[in-house]
């Protein structure tokens, strides 16, 4: 049953789902998955908490109808871990128990009332628990509580018994010359004046007579004539009352009923017997179940909490600290806010607060106005909302934590954490994520612990187990939750204004105009997806190992950056010669298709579908081979003399197009007129004479003769002799520095160096930039291309083949030996972290429907492939679990366990062996009691008594174990253990035989 708090968490879950679905932020999916999992785990653990608890009730021996009595219920946790926060509940009362350890029996007394005479089963006692977090309240009926209820007993004075109940041989007590006080009455006319009690008369002012009861007789028979009829209950109650009265008066009483008689007797035991007989008369013999429906529990979602749990501060602090992950917020301002916590804690300790509540409320209203009318419109929602939650936090921290404040504090902490989750990207988030939920869980348990503080939190293991389950479920939920991401959703998002909270990655818009040395370094650290290339046809079944997506190429290098020369040229298109408009050579467009100058409809072409994500803000046409034709919504497309294709406008919102490529390299050179001149003019340009580089180029080229061989030689030497590094900052290192000093750099350095060296050798070449992806998605038949895939390489013009791609960048990321061990370890750690961060971005932050389906697709395929090995693995696992369980259920554990086994501990060893053979010693049994019990049950085991005596001698009498008797003891132990095992086997056989019948 969901509690108020559970409903709130459900609402929070819905909120997280809405936020996640509309923004597509995966960290919100993570939170949502966690919240669902916590709900499920809490529900399961709540039930588990109640499982395996045996209940046994002890009725007091004197229970009367309609009279409240303490019902003592012994609860015992049979197996499993300890149970926490148990409540025993009857319709109007409850009793609680903070912890019930395994094997421990604890008595809980709960007041109960039974309305019916005779044997009753109490059916309305419930065992209830809302452990661990108070999200669910589950209950189990405690059954089998059967007890005997005595009939109602009332004062017999002044009552007339019904004719069916007779107390014979005496008359009812009456006033007379007894000793017991009977009553007072007013003096009537004509009575003997000596009866007047003068003391009382003087007190009251009117003549009073004090009367005494006459002594009753000695032998009484009480008869009940009718035990079944409609009037029987009243008769039985009267009989019980009479019996009580006469027994109290010291008489011998006999009971006669249609069903049973009780002989004369006196004293309380006799009275008990009479009561019991009366209780069992008629309908009293049959056990009836008595139950009342439990009233609906009206418990507040958040009972007060005073003082605030330390975990409350921790939770709020973690939520607050997670705000440091929002890159847009100024960490210094946040640090300033952090000073609130010690102050607030001090305030709570001293119960003195800086401002009265009223002043705070006034201030809060003013702030709200400021937020609505100034901050939100002017500063933007992220800033304004961050300030607002910080203000709320301060407001809550600096006011007394009474009433609903803990609930508000938890809500505020959750909102802050939620806000941070929508904004954060870093891997550190994951640590905050775990810490936040763990701490909040600890808070929720701690605040519901009924024991007074200070207390030992003994639920740590249990919390770890619950949160462990929840985290595992959350991982599953994160993977499995559908990611609806559509234009409609986007619009919904836009209408909520949440777009402003979206991923705040820098747009990636370089590449088209110029590329600076070192520019790709920082870009490559970002794994955001920029485009997705779907391949069709045969390549879907055997995808290439990698996909090289070309963007632009550059001809002019000024020493720092690559640029394009502005060149006009003429080109052949559909048999006509066309002059480029300035640098732009427009392609032919027909019915949505744009045809390149060399498109041949007869030639086979490869189909590449490009989806460009909004992050990529450029007007380049990317393609993976030679662009023959492009299918797009753009009205046209043009290329320039570096074979770079463009759309007429940028596509900031993302777009999609299809490329039919014919051939491996983009090369329009055959269509361009006077290409030889262009080659000579632009593709051999050098930033200036550089003799050192020329010599190096000659040295690298070695004895190679053809341009192809030379280019290959230079690429090989660069790949082998230089190392890859992303550590080179933008513009810090020029190309000489790369070639002669550091010998480390990222891809532009390699490509630039190779390009320049080839030009020194007189081979026309140019720098090309684009992406190199290896991330094949088998489910969707596409390559995912991320910012980190950005790459630069060299295109070399070979007379016999045209433009040909060479990639001088070493494929490996490893660096060559740093100097010191510390540096090496640091680098290794850094790389590990980067790799982790990379995976975090790729698989968590950038998780989407395709990745999801790809994951499941691959999983299913792998499972199908590895079916046999998985079967073997599962069998091994099951065997291991069975062994573990067997090991766990071995002999008894002892409270006083010696640290080291000595020869003197033979008895304990023997006990362990006997325990494994099925004869465990109860922890409360002494050695000789155990020996006696075993010996009585199984004569073969009688010798154990002798060993127990020897053990006592060694343990308590201070005798030492002599060498001579050691062998005897070992022999005797072995014999006993062997007989015990035989007995166990025999017992099993008997059992099996019994089943056979």
């Amino acid at each position: 049953m969901l509690t108020h708090f559970g409903v709130r968490l459900l609402l929070a879950t819905a909120l997280a789902l809405f936020g996640a679905a509309t923004s597509g932020a995966n960290l919100l999916y993570l939170i949502d998955g966690m919240l669902w999992s916590i709900l499920i785990a809490a529900w399961w653990w709540c039930g588990r908490n109640l499982r395996n608890i045996g209940a046994r009730a002890v009725f007091p021996e004197q229970v009367f109808v309609d009279t409240e009595f303490p019902l003592v219920v012994f609860l015992k946790k049979e197996t499993g871990g300890p149970a926490h926060f148990l409540k025993l509940r009857s319709p109007n009362r409850e009793a609680s128990l903070a912890v019930l350890n395994k094997g421990e029996e604890n008595a809980v007394a709960i007041p109960a009332v039974l309305p019916r005479r005779g044997l009753n089963e109490i059916g309305d006692i419930w065992l209830e628990s809302d452990y661990p977090f108070g999200l669910f309240r589950r209950r189990r009926r405690v059954t089998g509580l059967v007890g005997l209820v005595f009939p109602r007993v009332f004062e017999i004075f002044g009552r007339q018994a019904s004719p069916a109940v007779r107390a014979e041989e005496i008359s009812l007590p009456r006033r007379g010359a007894g000793e017991d006080f009977y009553g007072l009455r007013e003096y009537g006319n004509g009575e003997d004046a000596r009866l007047i009690n003068w003391k009382l008369t003087a007190k009251t002012g009117k003549p009073l007579i004090k009367e005494y009861a006459e002594q009753v007789g000695n032998r009484i028979t009480i008869t009940v004539e009718d035990a079944e009829g409609p009037d029987s209950e009243r008769q039985i109650a009267e009989a019980a009352s009479l019996a009580k009265y006469f027994i109290d008066a010291g008489a011998d009483v006999r009971l006669r009923t249609p069903e049973a008689t009780v002989a004369f007797g006196h004293g309380l035991i006799h009275l008990g017997l009479i009561f019991k007989t009366l209780a069992l008369l008629g309908r009293g013999k049959t056990v009836e179940r008595f139950e009342k429906p439990l009233p609906k529990i009206k418990s507040r979602a958040f009972p007060e909490e005073d003082p605030l749990s330390p975990f409350a501060y921790l939770t709020v602090m973690i939520a607050f600290a997670s705000m440091f992950l929002i890159e847009e917020l100024n960490p210094l301002v946040l640090l300033g806010y952090a000073a609130l916590f010690p102050f607030a804690w001090l305030c709570d300790r001293k119960k003195r607060y800086p401002l009265p509540r009223l002043a705070f409320d006034l201030f809060a209203s003013l702030y709200l106005l400021f937020f609505l009318f100034v901050d939100l419109p002017w500063a933007g929602s992220l800033w304004a909302v961050s300030r607002l939650v910080l203000f709320i936090l301060a407001y809550l921290l600096f006011n007394p934590k009474t009433g609903r404040a803990p609930a508000q504090l938890l809500t505020a902490a959750f909102l802050i954490f939620f806000l941070a989750s929508g904004q954060a990207l870093s891997l550190w988030y994951f640590i905050f994520f775990l810490a936040f939920f763990l701490s909040a869980g600890a808070w929720m348990i701690d605040r519901r612990d009924p024991r007074p503080r200070p207390r030992r939190p003994d639920w740590g293991r249990s919390l770890a187990a619950v949160m462990g389950t929840a985290t595992m479920l959350a991982a599953g939920a994160f993977i499995a939750l559908p990611r609806p991401y559509s234009a409609r959703m986007q619009q919904l998002l836009a209408s909520t204004g949440l777009t402003r909270f979206q991923l705040s990655m820098r747009n990636f818009s370089g590449m088209s105009e110029q590329v600076e040395l070192g520019y790709l370094g920082p870009i490559r650290k970002n794994t955001a997806r920029v485009m997705r290339v779907t391949l069709a046809g045969a390549e879907t079944t055997s995808p290439p190992d990698f996909l090289r997506v070309r963007g632009a190429a550059f001809d002019y290098f000024d020493g720092r950056r690559w640029q394009k020369s502005r060149v006009s040229f003429s080109y052949q298109m559909s048999g006509r010669t066309i002059q480029s408009r300035r640098t732009m050579a427009w392609m032919r467009r027909e019915k949505g298709m744009i045809y390149g100058p060399e498109y041949d409809p007869q030639k086979p072409s490869r189909e590449e579908n490009f989806v460009i994500y909004p992050l990529l803000n450029t007007n380049l046409v990317f393609f993976a081979g030679a662009p023959g034709a492009i299918e797009t919504n753009f009205p046209g497309s043009f290329f320039d003399f570096t074979d770079t294709a463009y759309f007429p406008g940028a596509y900031p919102e993302g777009t999609r197009y299809r490329v039919l490529s014919q051939g491996p390299e983009p090369d329009f050179s055959r269509s361009i007129e006077k290409y030889e001149d262009l080659l000579q003019t632009y593709f051999l340009q050098l930033p200036g004479p550089n003799e050192r580089m020329r010599r190096l180029a000659v040295q690298f080229a070695g004895r190679a003769e053809s341009p192809r061989a030379k280019a290959a030689a230079v690429a090989t030497r660069l790949r082998d002799g230089y190392s890859y590094s992303l550590a080179v900052a933008y513009g810090r290192q020029d190309i000489d520095g790369f070639l002669f000093e550091s010998k480390a750099g990222n891809c532009e350095y390699f490509a630039t160096a190779m390009c320049l060296m080839l030009r020194h050798l007189g081979i026309p070449s140019r720098l090309a930039v684009g992406f190199l992806s290896t991330e094949w998605n088998a489910y969707g038949n596409f390559f995912d291309i991320r910012q980190s895939d950005a790459h630069a390489w060299v295109e070399v013009y070979l007379p016999e083949a045209g433009w040909t791609t060479f990639d001088p960048t070493p494929p490996d990321f490893t660096q060559k030996g740093p100097v010191s061990l510390i540096a090496r370890v640091w680098t290794a750690l850094n790389q590990q972290f980067e790799a982790l961060q990379f995976r975090w971005y790729r698989y968590v932050v950038g998780y989407d429907t395709y990745t999801q389906r790809n994951f499941i697709y691959n999983l299913v395929r792998k499972i199908a492939d590895a079916f046999v090995s998985i079967l073997i693995g599962l069998t091994a696992l099951a065997a291991a679990v069975l062994l573990f369980l067997k090991w766990k259920s071995r002999g008894p554990r002892h409270a006083w366990k010696p640290s080291r086994k000595k020869p003197e501990d033979f008895y304990e060893t023997l006990l362990n062996r006997l325990g494994r053979a099925g004869f465990p010693r109860r922890p409360s049994q002494t050695a000789s009691e155990y020996a006696g019990e075993l010996g009585a049950a199984h004569p073969e085991l009688i010798p154990i008594a002798g060993l127990a005596d020897r053990h006592y001698d060694l343990r308590y009498a201070g005798r030492a174990l002599e060498e001579s008797e050691r062998a005897g003891i070992v022999r005797a132990s072995n014999e006993i253990a062997a007989s015990a095992r035989r007995l166990k086997r025999r017992r099993k056989r008997i059992f099996v035989k019994g089943i056979g019948k």
């Binding site: 007091p60 021996e61 004197q62 009595f69 303490p70 003592v72 421990e104 029996e105 604890n106 008595a107 809980v108 007394a109 109290d248 010291g250 004293g267 309380l268 035991i269 008990g272 002892h894 409270a895 006083w896 008895y907 304990e908 006990l911 109860r922 922890p923 409360s924 049994q925 002494t926 050695a927 000789s928 009691e929 053990h951 006592y952 343990r955 308590y956 009498a957 201070g958």
Partner: protein, 321 residues
């Protein structure tokens, strides 16, 4: 190899055996009850025998008293018994014009306080000082009681009319509360065979002198108690304090006396060390009357409930091997 204490114990073992044997000549009931009586004597404790009438409470007291060569008084407690009837009083001596103290029946080694709950709280509390400090203060004078001194009190839990239940403080003064229980069929046949057991008890031959009893009592403190067993005693006491159904657990005095009683119990078996079994055996008689249970019941039922609870405690606390 035998330690000095062991030698002394072996010497006295015969005496203890003789004492037990002597009592069993007339008391044909559970031999364990007889042993508990001897335990109370050795531990310098007082004994409260509580059970239904007619199963030999008084007989047991008389038999013990007669088996020791000591002064013995039986005092029938009634509701008009006054403290001075018990302790004695100062009487004016006209010849010397002084008050001289005339000792009451309490100045004996062994007192059988029969039906102790029949007398008024005033008289009951007069026993307090005597039981605790082994001395009596009357009219400003303090008079030591003979050594050994032991009170064997009996009470009948069934009849509660005209009785004054013993207050907790008084109950705490008794080392052991013993239930005798109904005899077995065999034993009952023995009882009714026709011998006047009470007469027989009054004529028992003493087997121990007061000095020997004192010497035996001195040995009790020397019986070794292992540290783990002390831990067990403490664990038992702690358990009574946290057990549901017990309003008031065992006091440290209770734990102390449990240790003493265990030592005496070990001594009755001629051992110089305490075994876990000793503690377990004496725990119920030592502890049941020291706890206050949460129950509305009274009489024998209440005793029975306390017993059940203490046995539950013994079942729950793990015992050192």
């Amino acid at each position: 190899m035998t330690s000095p204490i062991k030698r002394i114990i072996m010497e006295f073992m015969k005496k203890i055996d003789a004492l037990i044997g002597n009592i069993r000549k007339v008391f044909v009931g559970d031999p364990e009850v007889v042993r508990l009586v001897v335990v109370a004597l050795l531990a310098r404790g007082h004994l409260l025998i509580e059970d239904v009438p007619g199963i030999g409470k008084t007989l047991l007291g008389v038999a013990l008293a007669r088996s020791i060569e000591s002064s013995f008084r039986r005092i029938q407690f009634t509701n008009d018994l006054l403290p001075s009837d018990l302790l004695g009083m100062s009487i004016f001596n006209p010849r010397e014009s002084t008050f001289s103290f005339k000792p009451g029946p309490i100045f004996s080694h062994i007192i059988l306080a029969d039906e102790i709950n029949r007398t008024t709280p005033k008289t009951q509390s007069a026993l307090l000082e005597a039981m605790n400090d082994l001395q009596v203060t009357v009219d400003g004078g303090t008079y030591p009681l003979p050594d050994p001194f032991m009170i064997i009190a009996t009470q009948n839990p069934i009849e509660y009319h005209g009785t004054f239940p013993l207050p907790e403080a008084q109950l705490d003064r008794f080392l052991l509360r013993v239930k005798i229980g109904y005899p077995s069929a065999e034993n009952e046949k023995e009882i009714i065979r026709g011998h006047d057991l009470y007469q027989l008890a009054s004529r028992l031959d003493p087997v121990l002198s007061p000095a020997e009893v004192s010497a035996l009592q001195d040995q009790v403190d020397g019986i070794r108690v292992d540290d783990a067993l002390l831990g067990y005693i403490v664990a038992l006491a702690a358990e009574t304090r946290k057990t549901k159904g017990i309003k008031l657990g065992v006091s440290p005095r209770g734990s102390l006396l449990l240790r003493r009683a265990s030592q005496a119990h070990a001594l009755t078996y001629g051992r110089d060390h305490v075994l876990p079994d000793d503690i377990k055996r004496v725990a119920a008689p030592v502890l049941t009357h020291r706890i206050v249970i949460e129950s509305q019941s009274f009489g024998l039922l209440r005793i029975h409930e306390s017993d059940t609870i203490i046995h539950g405690v013994l079942e729950r606390v793990p015992i050192p091997l």
